[in-house]
Subunit: 202 residues, 2 copies
């Protein structure tokens, strides 16, 4: 299955600015991307990075500098189905969870993100279009309903956890198994447990 | 399987104080408890509420006003194994996910919570003790390791989502299927989507 992994090359992960410099955010987001590509490949998928600019990775790259939704919808129009769409910041993704995602039946398979987002999709029916703005999970349910497409949700903590904010780094630290978790450790981040709350600190 | 559901009767869910009054927090936490008990029963479990004080529910109640960890460990000592331990604020829990939890093999089965917590356990081996303070997930891995017990993790978004803070209410709103979601709606909460962020507001 062609698996599209959208990736913003410039100024990635801006909501991590309070804890990571611009260069660190680039390194960290590249480490997360590497983990996702690795997991997808090991699960039998054929990843393609849908990047906003040229980028050096070991898999095919499609450059498209339009908005995320426009670029992904162009992929859905131009390629045979099924297509997977997996966010590049799923640092807890493993080959096992990606394999479960790809193996889940349904015209549309959705792995919701925390906060109403859509972290991964498998599209097996023509006419489905994405809209990542706002509560995309609800939008995607509606689109599937209007197409009378069968829909299945994947209940996965790992796929629900996209890494956007400093508090998300705790999850990478505790549960990550790849390059992103290694990068955090190597950069000097440590777990801190204060008053029963767990945070990461450098 | 005996499934212990710890419940704090007085001043529950204090971290929701900014959006819910004390009375509302009591109603909401009771609705979540009802959802959990219902899901556990439908999954074939035999729930017991481990409450800090007397409480009127349709299942057996064990009153123990000691700390959460002490009360749960007393349950583990006094009852035959296996025992399940499920937090009372898993408002996204369904009979399906509880069923998957109970059916997962292993001396210890753990469903981690976001932020390093432990949202659900199945204990099938003698000698295991809980410690819910701090990063309990790591503590429980260590205890299992020291006991040389086999351990399996359940990868479930629904079980990873305990409802502690206002931002968690979005999850109940979007994905809840029971009394807690109904209560939020009936109390006048609505989803609000601003600048791509999803919150709940009243």
């Amino acid at each position: 299955m062609r698996v599209v992994v959208p990736y913003a090359v410039h100024d990635p992960k801006s909501r991590l600015s309070s804890v990571l410099s611009r260069e660190e955010r680039q390194e960290f987001s590249r480490a997360m991307l590497a983990d996702v590509l690795n997991g997808v490949e090991k699960a039998g998928g054929s990843p393609v990075v849908l990047a906003t600019d040229t980028i050096d990775v070991d898999v095919p790259v499609q450059v498209d500098d339009r908005s995320l939704s426009e670029a992904v919808n162009s992929e859905l129009v131009r390629n045979p189905l099924p297509i997977g769409i997996v966010m590049a910041d799923l640092a807890l993704g493993t080959s096992r969870v990606f394999g479960d995602l790809f193996a889940t039946p349904g015209d549309i398979v959705i792995a919701p993100g925390r906060g109403g987002g859509t972290n991964a999709l498998v599209v097996r029916t023509a006419g489905f279009r994405v809209n990542y703005h706002g509560a995309s999970y609800l939008d995607h349910l509606r689109v599937a309903y209007e197409l009378e497409a069968s829909l299945n949700e994947v209940d996965s903590y790992r796929l629900s956890t996209d890494i956007d904010e400093p508090s998300d780094l705790v999850e990478v630290f505790l549960r990550g198994e790849g390059a992103a978790a290694d990068w955090l450790q190597d950069t000097g981040f440590r777990l801190e447990i204060t008053e029963g709350r767990v945070t990461v600190t450098k």
